[in-house]
């Protein structure tokens, strides 16, 4: 499944290649390789362009339209009464936060997807984002902690969630006999996913209960933490998220590349010298941190991490790519935020409500499709 188009097209010249590496066959394979690479590059560039376009639309259009010259004037430091405030405090932060958080969710989803080899085991299904949200809400409600402290709590919450899920599924598997026990066996197995879903629903219940009990009339705050919303983003949060991402994204890229053999499956990957257990654990940690950092900024935006990876793979022709997944996530969040803010008359829906409603049918479709392939 890692590169279906590559394999299916490669099947055509295979008979000649079997006789011996004829120059024509070598050339054919080489051109296929470069074609796949070119497709990846094209897809990534297209996604980047789409992101720029989506952000432009988010900032310039909508109920309050800003002209392009005005926008650049404002960016240049000029003050236009009314427009300056709306652009700098409302439209631009939402666009930037959406892009950053979406990219973090997308990268986390790609890492989880590659480590766990299961399109449904993404951080928002197995409780990482919900755990981060619970931790953030807890320190906010009981300690009044904001800013860095809240982000740190969210990171810890995400890590704790994944640790619980891993702990229970590993214990469950280790009794399953030789060969499949231990860390590598626990990753991505059925027990792992069910434990993750259980943790996710636990966190969700704690969140909604806490929301009902603690803030009777503060629906806006409730929406941020139960569904995920960009209503509460501030430049402070954006800078914090950006700093965390600058540290984590290089690691994510490195781990994603190192885990490439994992796409071959456990035993083959082992054969080519990859240690999926250790590297996989690190990649889960980095992925969980990325998802938790994004959650600290925007709340648990449902299904963004789940959907960006398969979408990106569709666009790149089946090649797994971390940048493409991150860009996909960013585009999804920016568009969903625009639609949530503008498409429902005067009411602003939380962004996560929109991604959740749109994502559920797609997840069902993914489930059917993965059943077909497994």
């Amino acid at each position: 499944m890692s590169a279906p188009s590559l394999e299916t097209t490669a099947a055509a010249p295979a008979p000649e290649a079997a006789a011996g590496p004829s120059p024509a066959a070598v050339a054919a394979v080489r051109s296929l390789h470069s074609r796949a690479r070119r497709r990846l590059l094209t897809a990534t560039l297209c996604l980047a362009a789409a992101l720029a376009l989506a952000m432009g639309v988010r900032v310039l259009l909508g109920h309050y339209t800003v002209t392009i010259p005005d926008f650049f004037a404002i960016l240049g430091g000029e003050t236009i009464p009314g427009a300056s405030f709306i652009v700098m405090q409302e439209k631009l932060p939402r666009a930037v936060a959406g892009a950053l958080a979406g990219a973090a969710f997308g990268a986390a989803g790609a890492l989880f997807r590659r480590t766990l080899r299961n399109p449904l085991a993404s951080p928002d299904i197995i409780g990482v984002t919900q755990g981060a949200a619970v931790a953030a809400v807890t320190v906010l409600a009981f300690g009044g902690v904001r800013g860095t402290g809240m982000a740190a709590a969210a990171l810890i919450g995400g890590l704790v969630a994944i640790a619980i899920v891993l702990g229970f599924s590993m214990a469950g598997r280790s009794s399953a006999g030789a060969g499949s026990g231990g860390l590598a066996g626990a990753l991505g197995g059925a027990t792992f996913i069910v434990a993750g879903i259980a943790v996710a629903s636990l966190c969700q219940a704690i969140l909604s209960g806490a929301m009902l009990a603690l803030s009777q009339h503060d629906l806006q705050a409730a929406a941020v933490w139960t569904a995920g919303s960009l209503n509460a983003v501030t430049w402070e949060r954006i800078i914090l998220l950006a700093l965390i991402m600058i540290v984590l994204v290089p690691f994510a890229g490195l781990l994603h590349a190192r885990l490439a053999p994992a796409d071959l499956g456990g035993e083959l990957a082992h054969g080519v010298g990859s240690r999926p257990g250790r590297t996989g654990l690190w990649s889960l940690v980095v992925g969980a941190l990325l998802a938790a950092a994004a959650t600290a900024a925007t709340g648990p935006l449902a299904f963004v991490a789940l959907l960006s990876t398969p979408l990106a793979r569709g666009l790149t022709g089946g090649r797994p790519s971390l940048p493409a997944a991150a860009l996909c996530g960013a585009v999804i969040v920016v568009i969903a935020d625009f639609a949530a803010a503008e498409a429902f008359g005067g009411v602003r829906l939380p962004t996560g409500v929109l991604t959740g409603a749109a994502g559920a049918p797609l997840m069902l479709w993914l489930l059917i499709r993965s059943g077909r392939k497994a």
């Binding site: 399953a176 060969g179 409500v353 559920a360 077909r372």
Partner: protein
């Protein structure tokens, strides 16, 4: 005698694995069975104990809360209520406090019994140890349908809510079952029955989608929000006696359906072909069980909103005690389910005293650790 705990080891590789090599060895360990000689617990004490506990739990639920009422006053108030002199007794403020807790206690009893029995039925019908109306997305579907109906403005009374809840449950069940069986038939080739993993995943997706749309409706329409706010989290705090009286017969019918079909559960647990061979009709049985599940889930959701994990917890806990027959198991589940929900509601009221934690939250907080333990002990084979 332990239906659906150990499914015959049909292997479901995790979806999406593109392992080209030999399939991973994921065989279940030899089942940790109790010695066969252990005699099943006799039926009478098996049912008398929870009945007794339920009586005390209900009395405690009436007496304790934000305002504690002494036992004597509680009993007096209850007596006055039962003899129809409740209004007169309400003059005393302690008695009034106890009386005000009667509707929610009755509702908790009904909802707990309904959900626990629906869990037995669902686990038997789908041969899936993780059968729970909440986990499989049925309650979320019912909630969404009711919210939609309120949003359009078509539901007047409780009858409307009930019809909507049944419709929502049916649609959610159909979607989950279709998707899950498509995913599992195409994958494992085990015939029509979907595996627990695909059912749970489909249920999670349906829950997430329905919850998102429900909260969108709540935000878009303040009128719905007013009536529906507590419905996003299961709660018995606002229940009324009229609602409970109206839905009690529905729940009774649902439990009766499962009770009548119960002996077939053992046959069903052996698989369709064996069940056929034993002279039962698996399809008909499954229809009855699923119908009962829909009725019970819809009634419970109409009364209290989404309450999850009761259907998972109670049957699994009771099976450990080897009930004498499946019928005894069903009745025991009804009683212990009621106890669980009454106590969960009481605990939610006591822990953060003037405030309260809704029962929908409490059951999840109790249920998830139990589910994790079940997974850890491989009591649930996936």
């Amino acid at each position: 005698m332990r239906p659906s705990l150990q499914r015959p080891s049909t292997e479901h590789p995790p979806p999406g694995t593109s392992t080209p090599g030999p399939p991973e060895r994921r065989s279940a360990p030899p089942a940790r069975r109790r010695p066969v000689t252990a005699s099943p617990v006799l039926a009478l004490p098996f049912l008398a104990l929870p009945a007794l506990v339920l009586v005390f739990a209900c009395l405690a639920a009436l007496a304790f809360g934000a305002r504690h009422v002494d036992p004597g006053t509680t009993l007096e108030a209850l007596g006055a209520f039962l003899t129809g002199r409740g209004d007169a007794a309400a003059a005393d403020i302690d008695a009034a406090a106890a009386l005000s807790r009667i509707p929610r206690t009755i509702t908790a009893v009904l909802v707990g019994a309904a959900l626990a029995v629906s869990g037995v039925a669902l686990q038997g019908a789908t041969r899936n140890p993780l059968g729970d109306a909440g986990l499989l997305g049925l309650t979320a579907g019912a909630s969404l349908a009711v919210a939609l109906g309120l949003g359009i403005g078509i539901s007047a009374g409780l009858a409307g809510v009930m019809v909507l809840a049944i419709l929502g449950t049916l649609v959610a069940a159909a979607v989950v079952y279709t998707v899950a069986s498509a995913a599992s038939r195409l994958g494992g080739g085990t015939g029509g029955t979907p595996g627990p993993l695909s059912l749970v995943l489909a249920g999670a997706a349906v829950t997430a989608g329905c919850t998102a749309v429900t909260s969108a409706l709540l935000i878009l329409s303040p009128a719905v929000l007013e009536r529906f706010r507590f419905w996003t989290v299961g709660s018995v705090a606002r229940s009324s006696l009229e609602d409970a009286a109206w839905l009690a017969p529905v729940i009774a019918v649902g439990i009766l359906m499962v009770f009548v079909a119960a002996p077939g559960l053992d046959a069903l647990a052996l698989g369709d072909e064996l069940a056929h061979g034993l002279g039962s009709h698996p399809e008909r049985l499954r229809m009855v069980l699923l119908g009962a599940t829909v009725l019970l889930t819809a009634a419970a959701t109409a009364l209290a909103g989404p309450v999850v994990f009761v259907g998972l917890l109670v049957p699994h806990a009771l099976r450990r005690f080897r009930p004498a027959s499946t019928r005894v198991l069903v009745l025991g589940c009804a009683l212990w389910g009621a106890v669980l929900l009454v106590l969960a509601d009481l605990a939610g009221r006591l822990v953060v005293a003037p405030q309260e934690i809704h029962v929908g939250v409490t059951t999840v907080v109790i249920g998830v650790p139990v589910l994790l333990l079940l997974l850890r002990r491989k009591a649930v084979s996936l």
